[in-house]
Amino acid sequence: MKVVAKKPESLTEAKYHYCPGCTHGIIHRLIAEVMDELQIREETIGICPVGCAVLAYNYFNCDMLEAAHGRAPAVATGIKRLLPQNTVFTYQGDGDLASIGLGEIMHASIRGELITVFFVNNAIYGMTGGQMAPTTLLGQVTTTSPYGRKKEDSGYPVKMAEILALNQGSAYISRVSLHNPANVIKAKKAIKKALETQKNREGFSMVEILSTCPTNWGMNPLEALKWLEQEMIPYYPLGDFVSKKEA
């Protein structure tokens, strides 16, 4: 018999705590598969955010830390500077990265820090129960924008990939989506490229991953995938924003 699919070694046996239809599980698996393929599990150190993925240290089968809210890129910097030969990644949501941790992510990118950031953008705060994020779309209803996000009050949704692409320290910045299998495969390619960018010491790398939050969006998983495709992608275009090797 031929094995066509198996659990990556870079994932533990622990069961995910994520809600049905949530895309965190897919992202964890993609990262773990790439870690296996690049054979970097034993040299990798991952940093969890505060947010739904705060417990990711239970799922990745490598050395893991949990950081204060938004500070993962600073923690990653401390690790990478002391262990320059190891692979260091952060896994952050939109509240963590684009709101409270904006300073840390911005300067990690400015410094060209040799870390890889997996940025999960689902346009809402998940763990705290569906509050507005900096990435929440205009008109989107959340518990703290009950009449829909208004630009007059909260400005426009932030485009982190485009912003960080402006920094010369950024070597690979890409935005991918998980709304169908073809795009999941593309997302995996981007994750691999980001980790290779770090390995090749080219500079800072980030993959922004458009994701769903059926629970807090008030949708079933299929509706959520459709909403991601129809509402999020037009505002958050997919593709590579920086790719130094191609430049």
Binding site: I45, L65, R71, A74, V75, R81, E104
Partner: protein, 351 residues
């Protein structure tokens, strides 16, 4: 080794290097910046890491990451910066990550001033951030101790897996005195808990989240046991002429030297004065104060604050003698001023 003339901040930085520190993350702030500048010059030459962070918040979290790898790491700042670091210090305490923190302290609250102060005593000795925790706090009173305590601080930090703070008035950072450099200590101790890649072992996890109430309580008990052990073993104070003293001054840091001068002057005038100088501010050396209390007419806590350490002095005295306060803000009082005011207090002239 021969004596060299050094500034307090530079002696502390050199002490840290001699104590095995090869990584520094910080943000400039007066009157502590010479520590960062010294490290920026020296560490790259030693194959170490110096990084000027974008903020105090980032700096303390870089310390968190570096400490997690098992490295000896430090940061230095002054009051306003230490306030910003408190979130990270709470995380460091719970994650039990050793590191050296330095507060070359200035007056507050708010932006305050850049003159020396001791008004961060509460922040340093009560934990400072959220949750039940302590850090160890050492208070040098001369430039030699700035150097020595940095070396000792790293040893204590590694031994107890705890952040250790050196707190010194700005003056101590800025003034020059001759110092004798000690031998360097071995660089790294064995840290099996470090997150440095899981080759040939199970993955290590460093976290501070404990959603189960039972686990959280257990974690707090483990920390509390450690703090009790530190209280039993690490209290440190210097005493001066307390054996026959009717009046005991309690003062720490540079101010303790000024107080000592005043006490010697008053001794010559026939007043039986003595000094207790806490060297560890946490754990506070309460026993030496408590033991002296039955024979003492009055304790006087002298501080460059509006009265913070006096609360610990009162707890140690436990009602056995009156405890009075003398404080200044914005400058170190002169020996003459302390002598005059102590004489007045002793004679009961100050109401």
């Amino acid at each position: 080794m021969k004596k060299v003339l050094m500034k307090g901040n530079e002696a502390l930085a050199q002490g840290a290097i001699d104590g095995g520190c090869r990584s520094y993350f910080g943000y400039p702030i007066t009157p502590s910046s010479e520590i960062a500048e010294y490290m920026a010059r020296k560490l790259p030459l030693l194959g170490g890491v110096f990084l000027q962070a974008e903020s105090e918040l980032a700096a303390i979290n870089m310390v968190y990451g570096a400490a997690a790898t098992g490295a000896r790491v430090m940061t230095a700042t002054s009051g306003p910066g230490m306030s910003l670091k408190q979130e990270g210090i709470s995380f460091l305490a719970e994650a039990e990550l050793p590191c050296l923190l330095v507060n070359i302290s200035r007056g507050g609250p708010g932006l305050g001033g850049i003159q020396p102060a001791q008004s961060d005593y509460f922040q340093a000795t009560r934990g400072g951030g959220h949750g039940d925790y302590h850090i160890m706090v050492l208070a040098p009173n001369n430039v030699q101790e700035m150097m020595d305590f940095a070396i000792e601080g790293f040893a204590l930090a590694d031994h107890y897996r705890i952040p250790v703070m050196i707190m010194a008035e700005g003056t101590l950072g800025q003034m020059m005195e001759p110092v004798i450099q000690r031998e360097s200590v071995p660089l790294l101790t064995d840290k099996p808990w470090a997150t440095d890649g899981c080759k040939n072992r199970k993955p290590n996890i460093i976290n501070t989240l404990h959603l189960s109430p039972d686990v959280l309580e257990q974690r707090n008990m483990i920390l509390s046991d450690k703090y009790q052990e530190i209280k039993r073993s690490e209290k440190k104070a210097e005493t001066f002429m307390i054996e026959d003293a009717d009046y005991i001054v309690v003062a720490f840091g540079l101010l303790s030297r000024v107080a000592k001068k005043a006490i010697m002057e008053l001794r010559q005038q026939g007043m039986k004065m003595g000094l207790i100088r806490p060297i560890t501010l946490w754990p506070f050396p309460d026993e030496v104060i408590h033991q002296a209390a039955p024979q003492v007419k009055k304790f006087i806590s002298i501080e460059i604050s509006m009265g913070q350490m006096i609360e610990d002095v009162r707890l140690a005295v436990n009602g056995m003698a009156p405890v009075e306060f003398m404080g200044r803000i914005g400058s170190v009082p002169s020996p003459q001023e302390i002598t005059r005011r102590l004489a007045q207090m002793v004679e009961g002239e100050i109401k």
